[in-house]
């Protein structure tokens, strides 16, 4: 077990924030960030190792206006649809996939089967609570299990809305399902971090997990004690303690990985540190300034400018990828059935979910489309950022696969067929992007997931995923 004692380089966060800012502060910053080193050598220019591929999945709630999503024309000669128009400057980096579906989500009414099962390709258990199960592991977590050991965090789950509680009486599903797309095991959904400050600290705060003088021995003790107590309880209760035990082990692994990168003496580049510092300030500003108490910061979340909130979370994903802090991440623009008020957009007057039930009315459809388009604008922003971040001979985006889509097509009818999905990035050069690919009816969405897992170098998927037996044709 790696033994990290309290180190001399360790500095409290306060000095981090104060000292950061000018380029002058960089050497200082660097001394604070030894843990940031990446095993993929990406911190060093001209490294010979292959740059790692990263995978991000962006979930958009409540479907899209169906007639304004699909581009016209196929192959590389296609014209973006109105909703995808904001992506024009990135057209060459996109794969737009038409005709995919997640068959396992056809059953059950409403959003929940489709949201919780989006990345698992399974049918979730219909329950109001007592036996929650996705009946499968989500593809991001399949990837995290295999490539996660290379990075400090095996995966990063981000979002903007807290978990919804209670039962959706409309369809008799627990609303928990609508707030989770990542499933570590079939019974353990991973919550999204919605607080930018907490997400930033988890990624970049120097005195993070495992740095406490006693963390190691405490974890050792807790692991053994959990095992001991586990043997004394019933089966259902055991399953709960198993989650605890599994979590203890995962955190121990994370600490080992941090230690390994520390020992290898690798470090972040000045450019990375500068970006991290800029991010820190931006969060400070967005969340009510430095002087805001924690409570104020929390209260400000409620009135957080939604656009800025989403952009900060996506920027964190980009930075986490660029610094190779993780290679797998998900982001939920909102939870399923999100009623978020979008009247901050001109021409929109109402909540997201409500407007998605447009009843075919002209005004509602226009407002719905505007909300969809706003999501594309945010996605385009993330792609901008990923292009700005240089890596090797190209950009970060070249080494990514960034999925963006919804688990419904038309929100009014909860149509699960031909779901909207775009992937950006070349998967490290493996994919030929800049195309609109039309697949024949009933092509499994899970085939795309298999392709993405292949792009991540994940092995052992020969049994397929969900209703898919093989990866998608035509991406390479």
């Amino acid at each position: 077990m790696a033994n990290i004692q309290r180190n001399n380089w360790h500095m409290p966060r306060r000095s981090f924030i104060r000292g950061a800012g000018a380029t002058l502060a960089l050497p200082l910053l660097e001394s604070m960030m030894p843990l940031m080193a990446a095993t993929g050598k990406i911190g060093r220019s001209g490294g010979e190792q292959k740059l790692p591929t990263r995978m991000g999945m962006l979930y958009m709630p409540n479907g899209v206006r169906s007639d304004k999503w699909t581009p016209s024309g196929v192959g590389s000669d296609f014209k973006l649809s109105p909703i995808l128009q904001p992506l024009q400057r990135h057209q060459k980096e996109l794969l737009i996939l038409t005709g995919l579906q997640n068959k396992a989500s056809f059953t059950g009414d409403g959003h929940y089967v489709k949201t919780a099962g989006w990345l698992t390709g399974t049918t979730i258990s219909k329950t109001t609570g007592s036996d929650i199960s996705a009946n499968g592991v989500s593809m991001d977590q399949i990837a995290a299990q295999q490539v996660g050991q290379h990075t400090r965090l095996s995966s990063l789950e981000l979002g903007t809305e807290a978990i919804a509680s209670g039962i959706d009486r409309n369809v008799n599903y627990t609303q928990l399902y609508g707030s989770h797309i990542s499933w570590r095991t079939e019974n353990v959904p991973l919550p999204c971090e919605t607080n930018p400050r907490a997400a930033f600290d988890r990624l970049f705060r120097p005195d993070s997990v495992g740095q406490g003088a006693h963390d190691q021995s405490v974890l050792d003790l807790v692991r053994e004690e959990t095992k001991r107590l586990r043997s004394k309880i019933g089966v259902a209760d055991k399953a709960k303690l198993d989650q605890y035990l599994d979590s203890v082990r995962e955190v121990e692994k994370r600490i080992e990985r941090e230690a390994a990168s520390l020992e290898s003496g690798e470090n972040l580049t000045p450019q990375m540190l500068l970006q991290i510092d800029t991010m820190d300030k931006r969060i400070e500003k967005a969340m009510g300034g430095k002087n805001g108490s924690r409570e104020k910061v929390l209260n400000s979340l409620r009135r957080f400018n939604h656009t800025e909130h989403c952009r900060i979370m996506m920027d964190l994903m980009a930075l986490a990828f660029w610094t190779d802090s993780t290679r797998v991440s998900t982001f939920m623009f909102g939870r399923a059935v999100s009623g978020r008020d979008f009247s901050f957009l001109d021409g929109v007057n109402g909540g997201h979910h409500q407007l998605s039930h447009h009843r075919g009315l002209k005004n509602e459809l226009a407002e719905y489309q505007r909300i969809n388009t706003w999501h594309s604008e945010q996605y385009a922003y993330l792609l901008d950022r990923m292009k700005q971040l240089k890596e090797g001979e190209g950009t970060l985006l070249d080494n990514c696969m960034l999925g963006y889509g919804s688990s419904l097509r038309d929100g009014n009818s909860h149509d699960p067929k031909n779901v909207p999905i775009v992937v950006a990035g070349k998967a490290g050069g493996a994919w030929e992007t800049g195309r609109h690919l039309k697949y024949k009816k009933n092509t499994p969405l899970c085939s795309l997931w298999l392709s993405m897992l292949e792009g991540m170098g994940v092995e052992g998927m020969s049994n397929g995923l969900g209703d898919a037996t093989k990866p998608l044709d035509g991406l390479i």
Binding site: E161, K232, G234, S343
Partner: protein, 623 residues
Amino acid sequence: MNRWLLIFPLLIGYFSVTNAQEKMDSFARNAVPFMKQHCYDCHNAKKAKSGIELQDMLTEQDAMKRHDLLGRCLDAVEYEDMPPDDKVDILPTEQERENFLKELAKIKTKISTGDFEKKAGRPVLSRLNRDEYELTIRDLFGVEFDTKQFFPADGSGSSGFTNSGDALFTSPVMLEKYLLASKAIIDKWYADPKLVGSTFKIKRGSSKREAARDLIRRAGRRAFRRPLTEDEIAQLMSLFVKADSKKGATYKNSMRGPFQAMLMHPAFIYKMEAVHPTLKEWRLSDLELATRLSYFLWSSMPDNELMRLAEEGKLSDKKVLIAQTRRMLKDLKAKAFAEHFGGQWLGLDDLWGTAYPNTKKFTSYTNSLQSSLYNESIEFASHVLSNNRPITDFIHADYTFLNEELAVHYSISGVKGKGMRMVKLKNKHRGGIIGQGAMLVVTSMPNRTSPVKRGAWILDKLLGTPPPPPPPNAGSLPDTDKPHKGLSFRKQLEKHRQQASCAGCHAKIDPLGFGLENFDAIGRWRVTDSGGKALDTKSILPNGKTFHTPYELKRILLDDNALFVRNFAKQMLTYAIGRELEYYDQPLLNELVATLRKQKMSSEALILGIVQSRPFTHRSKEP
């Protein structure tokens, strides 16, 4: 080949068939064929109309397990709503219908009379949710630690409350946070001499190690809510010894490890209860009972008095249990009961979740107003629960809790300052939960009120009879309440639901909401609609009763309070035992309702009934 080998499997098949038929209970024989013929077409796993699936209800036991659904089936078939006369299905004959109803009624009677093997049930092992964690830390160290900005939100499962183990997960992120929290909490505690006090004073004549062992024993007992085993003490001691053997180590600093380990220990994080493999059911130990009681009423750990009584084995004594419950309800800590039970039952957390008033339109809707709205309802609930008020105060009361900002919002004069205080109401419309802004906001759309949501809220939260889901493609209303083509918003709504498939349910939902139209989307009183016309608040209930104002609606709810009373008892029992209620809890529910009626709706009578009940004081083995 020997032909017996061929016949043998057939024989087995034959015997198992006859066996199965003999074993079939009356429900399987008489009710299932009816459902096969008349219900399965729509209510199967694939279609599940109205979210109802019936294909798995094959035996009496199945039917009992789904007692809630059973009641709905009974009503639907009795009032001939089902099977629908849509010219597709074959309608059952009168006789068939009657026979089917008889079977359902038999099961219903069985459940309500408790004609089955008694069972206490068992909640799934539950970790402290983030509210409980925060309050437990407060009581353990005196340290304020805001978990809301630190831990991810907890979900709630079928119970609707975030204290039920089945919906509380632990993921690596959570564990990282526990680890960081444990360190931060100890740091904060150590840094405050007032909080530390004489904790690290070593008694004359004691060695450092003796002192450490003693401190671990005492602190551990409070953290684990039970005495530690010698083994557990030894484990924690080993951390102390390791740290203390380093050069320059101080007693206080060497105790950091043991304290941190206590906060990470499953015995702290989880509310563990012992298992007795040889017993079918057993009484909880006094210490386990103390933990249940304190998390029920305080959302936190037992205090010294409770621990002492439990260790002396006195808590399970009826008189002591009652006295302690009364004492705890009077304690300030019982505010957590109002906040977590009351707030979650009524869905008030939605103020920070699904409710999004458009602040461009409602400029007076500020963060602080939102907090005041929430506090009003929590103070109110706290008053009802801690002062033995009748639970019907939730429907109507002549008081509420206001500060200046909220009083101005409600157009009530004479309230100054930021603090919430009890205010007698002259206006009869405002009192009770459905006249409070928090409820009115969470049931509104960003730009307008929603009589449908408000009506559904009353049916669901207050009466425990949530309306069935709308059919697919039911559509929704415009996002503003502006008059459209000369029709007021109400007229649009009425037109919208004229379709036969909508009218049935909306006739039950909408009138309740219309009765609250005098409250706008952020809870202010109004008499005109957005078009400037006088509001049309006339409401006609399905039974023909007509009313015009919130007060009249409350009168109607009070006059016929059976559903409310039962639902209230059900919600509180669910919260108290941390699991969804099962069929075997129904007789207890009947008893609690009877107690409430006998004792003039006394909230204390209900709480005392719950803490003495079997599911609260006992635990069954796993099914």
